[in-house]
Subunit: 396 residues, 2 copies
């Protein structure tokens, strides 16, 4: 048995980590745009990166380190992705860390993480000029969460305290910035997860990809996969406590909550919809159909328009390449039956009920395929005028 | 040697075919909404249908006929797709043709083709009431092209006359209504191609799918594949002329022109962009990358915003799952070099040139991968406010 409790102030709760965001002069509104996370002793790190072939320079820089390396420093910046910058982009990071070493000589195997526009060299001088502002003993999660924001409309921070049966406890906390399919202007999702649990590197490497699959990968797959997507998990091991089942649950809860925050903050989004596909032949097919729904332009615009046009739902399922049958398909919006083989047209009363559900800020569209035993839920949002406005001229 | 000449008045030029569209009371604006195409003698027909598992009733009705069947009648209707209507949807078509037989008893193996909203039964009575309006000796391509329109803003008709070296000639003509990815509200693309060439059924079956692959499938693949997509080719063989090479070229030209009309008429579209991917490892990879570009929301909104943000182009290529390398990639907008390994950032002058190109109604974005020898061009359009407006409440 164990208990999971939410705590305020995000990363600040996790023993052994220090963090701060500062304004280095990149965001015109004067907000934080450069930040660090550090530990005293180098610690284990697990990572999941973008599947985009054109990985950004910070990711290539990370991948130069030998497998199983330990780090005591992450530097983050917003407004410039340092992507498509070639060898020079990697060298810029080395130069930057050489300069950082002058302010803070203890850095070992430092990691860089960037988000912003693709195709521009990093302004190394400008970032370096801001280093003297850093207070390396600071614990200031809010400022760091703010520093990695781009088109995000709110900070994404979360901390969970896990209490084990024997009275011992550990923390797991994260900050994140929003992208994925629901917020692809930035085309970057960055997430930094810190824990003081006494977790092994092997467990970190096993549990992180699983958590990402169920959370970020359920909201962010749309072919606009960024060059910079990064999820890092670092462990200070400052607590003696650890329990694999408890950690797994807490990690999955944390990443799920963060991914829902991403959808909620989707550019111009007004609604969050859970697309549950059940009764699929395989898990892969359930996933494929659920993601097809959350990615369909026609579905997204129908959700924006609050139009109970279930034909678009059915058509998207049918086109998704999975095994399905219009005789066994059953569609619900929340608890209202919308379609089955015996009720193929909406009567006026059902249409009214469906329309009422679609006016809510969040609801579920459930497609039971009636073929097999597998389920998957993907999360999506609507696509409205605001999305077009934000994305039509992102760089300015 | 042969000559291909465009002619006016679409289907009317093709010997042996009669066609007419009438208003049966479905379109509120009084425009044509039901139409026929017929021949005196039953003729060969080749078909390409949607890959959507939930094929609409008219397609299932067609597929009940034995392979190689001949037909002398196509009936079309707009406003109702007769999709997701089950066995009843197919029976409705049989009932409708029984009623049609009362006005025109010569029908043999009639084909139905529908476009409109999914999930409603056909109004058989209302369509049948309009049959007496049909003039079965009519040759009126315009009215038929009009009858199959839904959100299309202009009629799509084309006729080519192919003159062979020996002085013989044949015609190939088509009408089409617009959908595919660029116009997916309707979620239907219908195309009827008629010819009087003396073509064998075997050649029809060979050449039609090839033509579709190079044309409609280069503009319409976006996961919103309709339940009703249909391309039919019918031959009256009233001309003695035929030459396989000439027919192939004319058919490819015709379908290519029609598919460009579809893109141009994309809902709310203001620009048509050709996405050429060359130097790919395989044809499949070239196709995959080109279609990824034409389908990307980020690319489409950048085109709408006339923002020369080539990072989105590169990122989409990198995420498309193909073999590529940022060191060998070269991007051009028309003839302006935008990116290569030696020119990774846009200087002010190039940015200005790129912006000027993006203000044009049509231009080309060319990505040379520098990996292999295969090329593919996909056509897409921008996504702006008008698209959202049209699709947010399509049914009303």
């Amino acid at each position: 048995m164990f208990t999971i409790l939410p705590l305020k102030n995000g990363l600040d709760n996790v023993a052994g980590f220090f963090t701060q965001g500062i304004h280095a002069g990149f965001k015109p509104n004067g907000k934080e745009d450069v930040a660090f996370i550090r530990t005293d002793e180098p610690c284990d790190v697990s990572a999941v990166f973008t599947t985009n072939v054109f990985q950004a320079a910070p990711i290539k820089h990370f991948l130069r380190y030998p497998k199983g390396f330990k780090t005591n420093f992450i530097l983050m910046n917003a407004k410039n992705a340092n992507a498509m910058t070639g060898q020079k982009g990697i060298e810029d990071i080395d130069i930057l860390f050489d300069k950082l070493g002058l302010s803070y000589p203890k850095i070992q195997n430092p990691i860089m993480s960037s988000t912003g526009v693709i195709g521009y060299r990093l302004n190394v001088e400008k970032i370096a000029l801001a280093f003297p502002q850093f207070d390396f003993e600071s614990k200031n999660s809010h400022s760091t969460a703010s520093a990695i924001m781009t088109t995000d409309s709110f900070k994404k921070e979360i901390c969970l305290k896990v209490e084990l049966e024997n009275g011992e406890y550990f923390h797991i906390a994260a900050i994140c910035k929003g992208a994925g399919m629901i917020n692809p202007a930035m085309a970057t999702m960055l997430c930094f997860i810190l824990t003081d649990a006494n977790i092994s590197k092997a467990d970190m490497d096993e549990l992180l990809p699983q958590a990402v699959e169920l959370s970020f990968n359920a909201v962010s797959v749309d072919g606009d996969t960024s060059t910079n997507d990064t999820v890092l998990l670092l462990s200070s091991k400052k607590s003696n406590a650890y329990n694999k089942e408890a950690f797994t649950q807490a990690l999955n809860l944390l990443t799920k909550e963060l991914s829902l925050m991403l959808v909620k903050d989707g550019e111009g989004a007004t609604k969050v919809v859970a697309f549950e596909v059940s009764g699929a032949k395989t898990l892969e097919e359930a996933q494929k159909a659920a993601k097809a729904l959350s990615n369909s332009l026609l579905v997204k615009t129908a959700i924006f328009g609050e139009d109970p046009n279930w034909g678009r739902i059915a058509s998207t399922i049918g086109a998704s390449g999975i095994t399905c049958n219009e005789e066994t398909l059953v569609i619900h919006y929340d608890d209202v039956l919308i379609y089955n083989a015996n009720q193929r047209s909406l009567d006026a009363q059902t249409e009214q009920k469906a329309a009422a559900i679609m006016q809510k800020a969040s609801y579920k569209i459930h497609c039971a395929l009636g073929i097999g035993d597998f389920s998957f839920t993907a999360y999506g949002c609507d696509l409205g005028h605001e999305y077009v406005k934000i994305n039509a001229d992102y760089r300015t």
